[in-house]
Point group: C2
Chain length 766, copies 2
């Protein structure tokens, strides 16, 4: 039979499987995909933040411009004019009303990108301008202009646990503070982009930069009015997501698909940085009012909190952001009495959506500074205060969920403090540059949790070829975080083959069933379990073939160092594959995993919100130049309980990348809106830290295995972003004696505060 000689392959190096193609420039991002005959799309957008659309003044003129092949407005959408997210409020193209600056109103396709852009820029919309509302607190006032949702509330959640009044009565000390955070921009290397193409049998295929192919698939079905089987979505190599490619690509894809459907040709729709800044989602700005009550011994007895985020013009994923925020509102502490409310408010600003951490960085920033402020009031070491209250196995979370055995919270704290030599640190009181050290602790619900239960599932396919190499198809994506490598390792270690024998195929919605989004640190746990399930099924065939050869039962076989071993002998993996092929065993299987046993009662806010939690501690040393206000993070140590590390370099990369993004969030990134319009929509106007600004983040991996996780793994994508901001601001306090309660904490803020005495109780809280 014509099969190639199987070649034995040694266990290879631990390099990420996507590294070579990316560093060599061979990876094909959507802009690299070449077509001979393709049209280029552009979007005609609202020039105002709020208004009524009266008409399209020069549609015919646009239509007749050079190279223009199609102009599409809302009335021509064949399906529903809705891009479905959690709610169905976001029109694919604005029809009667525009609600934020840059909202898409019409589309154009032309032969060249320049012609498309020229047409879009020439377009004149007739719009009656309305007054806008841009601030979430203002949006809550009774006489606020109506923007959206229910009285401008996109979503509301609460937690009512224990007896809040009794709780505070039992407190010896109470502190209450307000913390504010600003927008954050994802600043993925690659802007949003899609190519849509009519394919066989009347279907449309879309390829592009995305985190969630199945969301895009759903959106196309809705907007095109097609059956699911007439849509295909394929992820191209994706240059960063961070949540910004969770929901937004559905819009870009829907626009590209409308143009392709109308013209019958492939259409490329790729944003430039300015367009991406103006129109794509951001991290929600927040205002968190939070109050802790504690005994003099340092036992936290009550927490009251109000968490308000600015959702922008449409709901998108605000409910999930607000929900994750409130679930984690008390930080990793056990508190019996809790009253918490979270609001996502509608305003006439760019819709805010998913961003690494998903509502948790905002609340962690608040409660982890507050715990330090409380320690100061209690005259207690903040580490000691934390240790008295930290979650441990058997503790109850804010939603009354009992913490399982996979809880490395204390270990992350101890290892972090040990590594950074927290006890030994001393401030530097001489000269204008002050040193300080700060910490923060984090617990993090892995995956989508009870409110995203419908999507808490994943499929995968594992398929062994004649020479023992393996194709793995998955529904979760690589976007720079290392998922391909994690799936590779899980598959290879399950089958007992070397890593370079496993090839991860590009995510394609026709290959595996809806596997939910690649967000919320869920890929390793949920997608990884699906890969493992598929690999185990195929392995049954290998066990059968090996057992038959050795004259034993399949369950007598064990795998060790790439060999299938029984008491009767051993066979190399590739030879076992050969035996399975000779006996024509089934060598492909579909794997499946669904998250069970999560619950949430919206009336009480109680329930088993997530299947499991990851835990982490961040500690950093900063230098504050009290003359210039410039803060430099000298060291940042971050220990994360990940359950089990599947691929150490990727895990360390996640920790380092998350910390870098958090340093930007805390100290650099300042999106400025004037009357609802972003005025610094560029990477020169909106500053993110460069490698020169960053220290070498020191990761520590803690492994408190989770029984349900693949090899014990939990999730790591988001947690590294959650904790550092508070640790940095606590360190700034340590250096300067000043509590900063707003991020970004810019040099000008520091200089300003150093020149007045603000180290006193705030007078009143709104």
């Amino acid at each position: 039979m014509p099969v190639a000689t199987p070649k034995k392959v040694k266990k290879d190096s631990n390099i990420r499987v996507d590294a070579q193609r990316k560093v060599s420039g061979k990876a094909k991002f959507i802009e690299d995909v070449e077509y001979k005959n393709i049209l280029h799309g552009a979007t005609i957008r609202s020039p105002v933040t709020h208004g009524r659309i009266r008409g399209f003044k020069n549609r015919d003129e646009i239509k007749n411009m050079p190279g223009v092949k199609a102009v599409i407005t809302a009335d021509e959408i064949p399906g529903d004019n809705i891009v479905p997210f959690v709610k169905e409020d976001y029109p694919c193209l604005a029809e009667k009303e525009v609600k934020f600056y840059g909202q898409a109103v019409a589309l154009v396709a032309a032969e060249t990108p320049e012609e498309a852009k020229a047409a879009a820029e020439t377009a004149e919309l007739i719009i009656d301008e309305y007054p806008g509302i841009y601030d979430s607190i203002e949006s809550m006032t009774p006489d606020a202009v109506y923007v959206g949702g229910d009285d401008n509330v996109h979503s509301y959640f609460k937690i009512r646990k224990g007896n809040i009044d009794e709780g505070f009565k039992g407190a010896d000390v109470i502190v209450e503070r307000v913390y504010n955070s600003g927008h954050q921009v994802h600043c993925y290397l690659e802007n949003q982009g899609m190519i849509a193409e009519p394919i066989q049998n009347g279907a449309i295929s879309v390829k592009g930069s995305m985190q969630c192919p199945f969301y895009v698939h759903n959106a196309l079905v809705k907007v095109l009015g097609f059956k699911y089987s007439k849509v295909r979505v394929v992820q191209a190599d994706t240059g960063g997501g961070f949540g910004g490619k969770e929901d937004m690509p559905s819009i870009v894809a829907a626009h590209a698909a409308l143009l392709a459907n109308k013209t019958g040709m492939p259409v490329s729709l790729i944003y430039d940085r300015e367009e991406d800044f103006h129109t794509m989602s951001k991290r929600h700005p927040s205002r968190t009012r939070i109050k802790y009550g504690a005994t003099t011994e340092g036992k936290l007895v009550a927490c009251e909190a109000e968490y308000i985020v600015n959702g922008g013009a449409f709901c998108t994923l605000s409910p999930i952001v607000a929900w994750r925020g409130i679930i984690h509102i008390t930080g990793p502490y056990e508190i019996e009495n809790i009253k918490a409310d979270s609001y996502a408010m509608a305003t006439n600003t760019v819709p805010c959506g998913a961003f690494r951490g998903f509502g948790q960085p905002q609340v962690n920033f608040a409660n982890e500074i507050l715990i330090d402020e409380l320690a100061e009031k209690l005259n207690m070491d903040p580490v000691e205060l934390r240790k008295k209250n930290l979650l441990k196995p058997g503790s109850k979370t804010a939603t009354n969920q009992v913490v399982g055995s996979s809880c490395g919270m204390a270990e992350t704290l101890d290892k972090t403090l040990d590594k950074i030599k927290f006890k030994e640190h001393k401030g530097n009181d001489k000269g204008p540059v002050k040193k300080g050290m700060g910490i923060s602790t984090v617990f993090y619900g892995v995956g989508l949790g009870a409110e995203g239960k419908y999507f808490a599932k994943a499929g995968a396919q594992v398929h062994i070829k004649e020479d023992g190499t393996v194709f793995v198809a998955i529904g979760n994506v690589e976007m720079g975080q290392g998922a391909e490598t994690v799936f590779n390792r899980i598959c290879a270690d399950t089958l007992g083959c070397s890593y370079d024998m496993v090839e991860i195929l590009e995510p394609d919605t026709t290959r595996v069933p809806d596997s939910g989004p690649t967000v919320a640190s869920r890929a390793t746990l949920v997608g990884g379990n699906a890969v493992k399930d598929a690999a185990l099924k195929v392995r049954d065939s290998l066990f059968k073939a090996a057992a038959q050869k050795m004259g034993v039962k399949p369950f007598d076989i064990k795998i060790k160092d790439g060999k299938y071993i029984s008491d009767e002998g051993e066979i190399d993996y590739v030879d076992v594959v050969d035996l399975a092929y000779l006996s024509r065993e089934r060598v492909a299987a579909q794997g499946w995993y669904k998250v069970e046993n999560v619950s949430f009662d919206e009336k009480t806010g109680l329930g088993d919100a997530y299947p499991v939690y990851s835990y982490s501690t961040n500690a950093c040393e900063v230098e504050v130049d009290t003359e210039t206000g410039v803060v430099k993070v000298n060291r940042l140590v971050a220990a994360h309980d990940v359950g089990k590390t599947i691929h150490p370099p990727s895990a360390e990369g996640q920790i380092q990348g998350g910390a870098a993004q958090a340093i930007g969030y805390a100290l650099y990134e300042n999106l400025v809106l004037e009357e609802g319009k972003i005025v610094n929509p560029s990477l020169s106007g909106y500053t993110i830290p460069t490698t020169m600004d960053l220290c070498d983040v020191e990761p520590i991996l803690v492994e408190s295995a989770y029984d349900e996780g693949p090899f014990g793994a939990k999730g790591l994508g988001e947690p590294p972003m959650v904790g550092p901001a508070a640790a940095i601001l606590n360190a700034i306090h340590d250096a300067t004696g000043i509590w900063f309660r707003k991020i970004p904490c810019l040099p000008e803020d520091i200089v300003k505060e150093l020149n007045k005495d603000i180290n006193k109780e705030p007078k009143e809280l709104k």
Copy 2:
């Protein structure tokens, strides 16, 4: 959750699922696939039929011609210089020796097809010419020039059953004749063509016109020296195969891939008709000497046969052709004593390979004329003679296999004779145009049989989307025969959904495991069973979801008219899917099927050669113009026992198309070779029947269900081609009184024979 409203879809019409895209011109054949930057390949070929390669005179000149980007010779092949078929004798590029006119020696890639062609035409090879051998009988002589194989024998098989001498001793009448058949050209609408492209992670993807993506995958692994996981093969819409795209595409793909691998760019390699004629495989010319012995009562008691085919320069699939021929050497008759030998001989002609029928049309043509000749000698009605000997359940085939219960042989005969009014027909003795009627009967082993056991397996994937539409991935291909529609029906009928909800995905070797080739009428039985297996697995999830809703057990559910029904009520299919999604049941599965219980003993030629047999009868009425020799087939009735008809229009289309091809084989198609070189390599030089030459073939579908088949189906692709030639030549005898024993039976042959008395025993047999 963002899912589209499921739309109820009525059972749609019975139109083939590939019809719309093909008749509308939207189907993308490989020449329609557009790339922005692609190179074009051309092949530098041997100008002689046999010779030693001494050098490449002007390689540097070629390399520097306009647009030329690469020239490749055998020494640059990174893997093995072998395109693997049954044996490993066919070099990807000739290195030292060329063995047939047009054999590939080197490759060139250039920026335009014209530049590539110009370069190839400019190439001058230095070759020492050897004497060639072109006839299979000559090739058997002891002093023949050596071409290949074992003493010029590519393959040899035999059957030794009973006692041949005793058998003939018991015969009252013996007839022995020699029958010859010529080459036949596949004449697929679309010539061979492939595009190879470097893709991510160092892999190469090849897309093109083909029947057997997994053969191509194997060939690329071999030639490129890549791991299986670094090759992807995708079938493009394919404009006809008929076996000509079983083995040959591996060569075209390997050449394209070598050029793509060397240049790092996509390379298109598409043949024109002349190149395709000269170099791609043909149906084997044959010489069958066959001798029957019978009692005066008409019982066949012995058969001796020698079946010799001209395999051409390389072995390719000759062994399988020769094997299928000998297995069916006695036709659908039970004979106790058999001695048969089959040889595939090497000659310096274009390699012959797979062609619809695979060695069976040649032997059927021989034994079905012989049975008429024997009837004449016995002075017996040929129908009666057949009926006395036909296989029925419990009979034993030539290889001693017991015929199972799925045997509609007699029913096909009765229905055919009835429809064509065989008993009532009368010759027309007035005037120069003579009428005649003839029949033939066929039994046909479905699938690859015992000699192709390694590939007797197939995988499939079924994957239900949110709205109930379904993606089906398969390893067997649509090439015009209707496979997509058959898989669609099998899946839809298993799940209880409407046909337009099922989408068949393009075959892709990364989607499903090696499913063997799409040949030998195996797609419905083997691929269909894999689809059914996958659909049944997914249906378990639907049963579970429906049962939970209705409060019954899954096995209490039945499907009827698109509803899932129990004693507790009924739920529409789409609503059941919705329930399954809500409970996050697994909605995708991998199906698998392998053919069991086939065997063949090469020493005796006995065994259970195939899992099951299809049966058919052809009857036709012809008019022979005795002045011009022109034969017109007025009617052709063909009844086929297919087990179960999955899609009647496709089944009828197979019967009609096969009969048309057989009419061409019998009366028109005459490939002329002079000194081993084809001299009529075009559709104007090589005549195939047009629609004007053909009658409206009348198909009859007989259903004798096969328990193992999907819904009882067996296979139908090849049988329609097998029988008509003999029926036509028997009819010509009926009209003219002359036994013609060679096909094509051309007007000039008929005129020549009518002018001499050949209706006597041949003098001697070689």
